[in-house]
Structures are given as structure tokens and as C-alpha cells.
């Protein structure tokens, strides 16, 4: 290390060789791995060929040569009009799929004019309160051709109904629509906390969408079982892997309990993982995820259809690894994380923008993030060969360890009576909070280096990058728009549709057709959610610090 480097920043005096050698999850990193690490490893049993059981090496024999990953940047802010413009900007620049970020009121099933929405409208995503907003969101975007992912959970079924009707109105055949609904309520209870109803009716709504999708929309993924938020909340890599797959099995169990056949619905289950900073640990996590899922689906659930064994996943780089300090260097962090996703065999990828520790990304920052993926795809050669790290002593050992760690968690969850009882008693929440606490302590003791934050600090740094600002008038404008919507619609039809939602919920019917009818009358998201609350009630979580 040069003298110059040594003097940068008040904490920058220690030579790098003193850094503890542990992953971002606290796992010790060996100096060198060797054959003795793979004593119990069986190549045929544990790896196989790409595109073959247990799919450790990837779900396709030719991976990205045959099917490039989808470059899917999560976006949404302000009004449907503004977000529609951003989507068209991204599509024009070579993005290949859309991914809708909704604002917090929408995620919580509240309209923009609800008193709880004040100050939150359009801030961390787009505000969608009715079918009218959904039609605007996709104006001039042919939903029949563009696959669309929607990050929405508690009210997912209702938002999906709006999307379906908007697509129908464009003249699309709904059976051909492609995309993904996040719709993963279990991780909301565990980590992201955007729940509305208690676990049981929430699971029922998920099963309704799986059932409806299986019957009517066979190309659409009705759920994206997500570890991303579990990781962002502070979990380790193994916890992310284990809790996500445990959730996946819980959905399989719930669908089976509703008399669906495993091979009917399992091929449409999709996953979503975080890609954090520790390159090899992340790659191992992705490889282990595929292997665990394939084994459980075939051995435990007896799935016969090969497609039921495949774990297909989306990846997003770790938002929590971004720093507000020296934001430009986040481009580098994101590039490494994206590389892990690609080497791990992801089907689609979102790369975070450099400014996201501060605000929603600016147009310039989003463009750099998209270009990062394009460099990975076209310039550095990693997309041309399948699973290039297979056979590495270190990566195979890590992959085996990840699987063993996840299996140990599955056993603990089972002892607690399954995922729902475990989350009702706060098991996952406690595990995640403990890991987050450990990580923060490691940072404070400088056992983890974060460039620009606890080492190589740029004293006197000021924010230099442009910040996207949401128009202050948005709350008032949205209130006016919704007032107009409510006076302009056929209220009798709205009331009748809402009454059918209530009746359907009480009678335990599949609610998707009722939601579709209700949104068609321009009943709002908030009105439909209120109708459901009258039957299901609301969830309050146990407080765990």
C-alpha cells in the first residue's frame, strides 16, 4: 500500500492485510480450498449437467447463449403519466421488460386521497388507485408484447385485476400475457412489513391468484417468492436462502391444500434473490437454491413435470450495500453484484442506480445502471459459457454449505410448526434483527470495511449528484383526480361490485373474478381493500427489537 493511500481518511491507517477474512454474512473465508473440502461431494449427484437435474449448474443447457437474461429495471415514481414516460425512455434504450414500483400507499392498499397517504404519494413508486391510473401507466405500451413485473404484495390480486382489465382494453389476449406478480406475503410478515390482513386470509388470496393464473394466464408468474427483502432487512445469505425456500414450500403446501395438482402450478412459481457484495458466497447461494428446490420438488412433493423442479429467479443488486457517501463508487459495487447474479445463472436482473441511498434514481443514474448490464452481457465474456465456476473447490464447498445451512433452518422451522406459526411468534424477525445487529457492530468495530464510510473517507464531502424530486403538488392533484373519478362513475355498479367482493370473501370463493368485475367499475384499490378488511380484519405484528 502506498503512503498516499495510508493517509486518506481518519480511519484509513490499517493495512488491508489486517482485515478479518469473513464474508458479508460473517462466514469465515478459507485461505485456500482444496480436494479435502469436497470429500462428501458427488459430481453426478450434486452437479449434473447444465439444464439437468438437480440444476445446480443452471436451468438451461445453453444458458445465456440461448436465452439472455431479461434486463428489467424496477421503476416508478410520481404519477402514472410520469412513470409511463420513464418506461418508454427505458424501452427505447434497450430494456427488455418492465418492472413496476408502486408507491407506499398503493402497496398498503390505500388510495392517494386517504389521510394515511399524505406525504407518501408517488414518493417511492407510482401511485395507482384505480383502473384509470393503470390505463395511463401503460398508455402506448403494448402489454401483449412487453413482459411486466409488478412489485406488489398484500393487494396484489387487486392490482393484477387492474392490469388484466387494462390489457384487455388494449385488445390483448390475457392468456398470452407475460410477466410476474410479486405477491409474496410471507416475506412481508418476515421482513418488509407491508402486510394488511392476517396471515391466513393473506395466504388465501395468494392461492386464489395461483389458481386463477394456472387456469387463465398460463404464461404469467402469479408469485415471485422473494428473499430480496429478507436480505435487505439484515439477514445473512443462508437465512435469505432458507427463509425464501421455506416460504416457497409453504405456498406449495397451501396450493396442494386447495386441491391443485403440483405439476399444474409449480412450473409458474418464480423466485427473486438479492445479490450482495460477497461474490462467491452469492454465486454459491444461487446454485444451492436451484439444487434445493429441485430436490424438494421431486423427492418430497413428487412433482413429475421437469418444469416443476426448475427454480427460475430474478436478481436485484443489494440496495443496502449502497452508500450515501461517494455515490459514484456505487456503480462499481453494483457491477460486482450483478456479475454474481450472472455467474449464478439468473433469469433477469435489476442493477441499482448509484444514487439510491439518497433518493429514487435520476434518469442519468438509471442509464448507467442499465449500461452496466449491457457491458456484462456483451463485453466481458461471462455470458458465453455456462456456470464457469463449477468444479472450483471453494465455490462447490460453499454451495454444499449453503444447502446444509438451509436444511438446518428447514428443520427448525418445522419444529416451530411451519412458516406461519414461526412468524407469528417472531422467529424470523428475531433471526433477521440479530443478524442486522451483528453486521452493524462489525461495521462500528471496523471489522468490515466500507469504502467511503469507515475507511477512505472523503472529508468535507458534499452531495454532488442530481436528486430526483417529486413534485410537491402531487398530493393535492391526486386528491382532485380521485374526486373527479368518484363523481364520474356509476356508483350503483361500484357498490354492487364491492358487495360481491364482501360476499365472496365471506363464502371463501376465489376472489379474482370479483376483483376483475370491481375494478372494471372503477372501484378504487382502497375501496376494495376496505371491503376485504371488513371480513378479514387487519394484522398487528408482535414488537421485536
Amino acid at each position: 500500500m502506498s503512503d498516499e493511500q495510508k493517509t486518506i481518511g481518519p480511519l484509513g491507517h490499517r493495512p488491508a492485510s489486517d482485515d478479518p477474512h469473513v464474508t458479508v454474512s460473517g462466514r469465515e473465508i478459507p485461505l485456500v480450498a482444496g480436494p479435502e473440502d469436497l470429500k462428501d461431494h458427488d459430481h453426478a449427484r450434486d452437479l449434473g449437467n447444465p439444464g439437468e437435474y438437480p440444476y445446480t449448474r443452471g436451468i438451461h443447457p445453453d444458458m445465456y447463449r440461448g436465452k439472455p437474461w431479461t434486463m428489467r429495471q424496477f421503476a416508478g415514481f410520481g404519477t402514472a403519466v410520469q412513470t409511463n414516460e420513464r418506461y418508454r425512455f427505458l424501452l427505447e434504450r434497450g430494456q427488455t421488460g418492465l418492472s413496476v414500483a408502486f408507491d407506499l400507499p398503493t402497496l398498503m392498499g390505500r388510495d392517494s386521497d386517504d389521510p394515511w397517504s399524505l406525504g407518501e404519494v408517488g414518493k417511492c413508486g407510482v401511485a395507482i388507485s384505480s383502473l384509470a391510473d393503470m390505463e395511463t401507466l401503460f398508455d402506448q405500451i403494448p402489454l401483449a408484447d412487453v413482459s411486466t413485473s409488478m412489485t406488489i404484495n398484500s393487494p396484489a390480486a387487486i392490482i393484477w385485476a387492474m392490469y388484466i382489465v387494462a390489457a384487455e382494453k388494449q385488445g390483448a389476449d390475457i392468456a398470452r400475457l407475460r410477466g410476474t406478480l410479486q405477491n409474496d406475503i410471507l416475506k412481508e410478515f418476515m421482513a418488509q412489513k407491508e402486510y394488511i390482513f392476517p396471515p391466513e386470509p393473506s395466504m388465501k388470496l395468494v392461492v386464489d391468484t395461483i389458481e386463477f393464473g394456472t387456469r387463465e394466464m398460463p404464461k404469467f408468474n402469479p408469485i415471485s417468492i422473494s428473499g430480496y427483502h429478507i436480505r435487505e432487512a439484515g439477514s445473512t445469505a443462508v437465512q435469505e436462502l432458507a427463509f425464501t425456500l421455506a416460504d416457497g414450500f409453504a405456498y406449495v403446501d397451501a396450493a396442494l391444500a386447495a386441491d391443485l395438482e403440483v405439476d399444474e402450478f409449480a412450473p409458474r412459481l418464480s423466485f427473486f434473490f438479492n445479490s450482495h457484495l460477497d461474490l462467491f458466497e452469492e454465486i454459491a447461494k444461487f446454485r444451492a437454491a436451484r439444487r434445493i428446490w429441485a430436490r424438494h420438488m421431486r423427492e418430497r412433493y413428487g412433482a413429475k413435470n421437469e418444469r416443476s423442479w426448475l427454480l427460475r429467479f430474478h436478481t436485484q443488486t443489494a440496495g443496502c450495500s449502497l452508500t450515501a457517501q461517494q455515490p459514484l463508487i456505487n456503480i462499481v459495487r453494483t457491477a460486482y453484484e450483478a456479475l454474481a447474479g450472472v455467474l449464478g445463472g439468473t433469469q433477469s436482473l435489476h442493477t441499482n442506480s448509484m444514487d439510491e441511498a439518497l433518493a429514487l434514481p435520476s434518469e442519468e443514474a438509471v442509464e448507467v445502471a442499465l449500461r452496466t448490464q449491457q457491458i456484462l452481457a456483451h463485453e466481458i465474456g461471462v455470458a458465453s459459457t455456462v456456470d464457469p465456476l463449477a468444479g472450483s473447490y471453494y465455490v462447490e464447498k460453499l454451495t454444499d454449505d449453503m444447502e446444509a445451512g438451509a436444511e438446518a433452518y428447514f428443520a427448525r422451522i418445522e419444529e416451530l410448526g411451519g412458516v406461519v406459526p414461526a412468524l407469528e411468534e417472531g422467529f424470523f424477525q428475531r433471526e433477521i434483527a440479530d443478524a442486522a445487529h451483528w453486521y452493524q457492530e462489525a461495521l462500528e468495530r471496523e471489522q468490515r470495511v466500507v469504502v467511503g464510510v469507515n475507511r477512505y473517507v472523503d472529508e468535507g464531502e458534499t452531495q454532488q449528484i442530481p436528486i430526483l424530486r417529486i413534485d410537491k403538488e402531487i398530493d393535492a392533484n391526486r386528491r382532485r383526480e380521485l374526486a373527479e373519478l368518484r363523481t364520474g362513475r356509476d356508483q350503483t355498479a361500484v357498490d354492487a361490485a364491492l358487495a360481491r367482493v364482501v360476499r365472496g370473501a365471506r363464502d371463501g370463493e376465489n376472489l379474482m373474478p370479483h376483483f376483475i368485475d370491481a375494478v372494471r367499475t372503477y372501484a378504487t384499490l382502497g375501496e376494495i381493500v376496505e371491503a376485504l378488511k371488513s371480513v378479514y380484519g387487519e394484522y398487528v405484528e408482535p414488537i421485536i427489537i
Binding site: L104, L107, L118, G119, E120, K123, Q463, I470, I545
Partner: protein, 139 residues
């Protein structure tokens, strides 16, 4: 001996991101403070009410949803209205420099962005509460 510093750690509005709030709550507790955590989805009214009822020295408000320019001023207003003028309102989240300056001008205390260490937060609350107690004793 001085009585322990009491802090209400609060999550306001619809935001469910509680990692930061929980990490800070634990750090304050480890530093010997009495910590009350509100749990999620509290309105400004509920937070101000709890702060006054619990007779806390400081409120630490966590907001990652972008609603900080609405919620911080509202909590501050309600604290004053309910007679909690002496309570320090501090907090953190995804808040840009410009907004921090504007909120400080309105009377909010120091705000902490991503990357802040819990040590900084503990030190700040200890110093600021100490200063305010001193002022009160002298007045």
C-alpha cells in the same frame, strides 16, 4: 446520579422498513438509555402523544419512504402543541442534505443518513439531551 435518558424510537406513516430503527434502538439500549419502540404504522398524533405520556427526552423518528418533509414537521408541531417543547426530535433515513438543512431550520435536531454510525447517534443524543437538561436547570 442523572436519571437515564429516555428515548422513543418511532416508525411513522406507512413505511415498514424497520431495520434501522431496530438497530438504533438496540444501540441506544446498549448505551444505557431507556428505549421505547413504537412498532410500525404510527401517526404523528400517536407518536407525539406517546412521547409526552412517556415523558421521554428524545424522539428518534425513522423514515425511509420519502415522506420526511411531511411527517417530521407534523410531529414537531404536535409535540409543541401537547407541551413537549423540550423533547428533542431527531431521526434518520433516506434524507438528502438539503432536506436535512430545511428540517433543522424548522427546529428538528440532527438527522442521520445511511452510513451514520450508532456511536455518532448515541453521542449526539447524550450531548443534546444533556445540554437541554442543563438549560432547564439554569432557567
Amino acid at each position: 446520579m442523572d436519571r437515564a435518558i429516555r428515548v422513543l424510537v418511532a416508525k411513522a406513516g406507512l413505511d415498514g422498513h424497520d431495520r434501522g430503527a431496530k438497530v438504533v434502538a438496540r444501540a441506544l439500549r446498549d448505551a444505557g438509555m431507556e428505549v421505547i419502540y413504537t412498532g410500525l404504522r404510527q401517526s404523528p398524533e400517536m407518536i407525539a402523544e406517546a412521547a409526552v405520556q412517556e415523558d421521554v427526552d428524545a424522539v428518534g423518528l425513522s423514515l425511509l419512504s420519502g415522506a420526511h418533509m411531511t411527517i417530521f414537521p407534523e410531529v414537531l408541531r404536535l409535540l409543541r402543541e401537547k407541551g413537549g417543547d423540550d423533547i428533542l426530535l431527531t431521526g434518520g433515513g433516506c434524507i438528502g442534505d438539503e432536506d436535512m438543512v430545511e428540517l433543522r431550520e424548522q427546529g428538528v435536531g440532527e438527522l442521520f443518513g445511511p452510513g451514520a454510525s450508532t456511536r455518532e447517534i448515541v453521542d449526539y443524543i447524550r450531548d443534546e439531551v444533556g445540554r437541554r437538561r442543563q438549560l432547564q436547570e439554569n432557567s
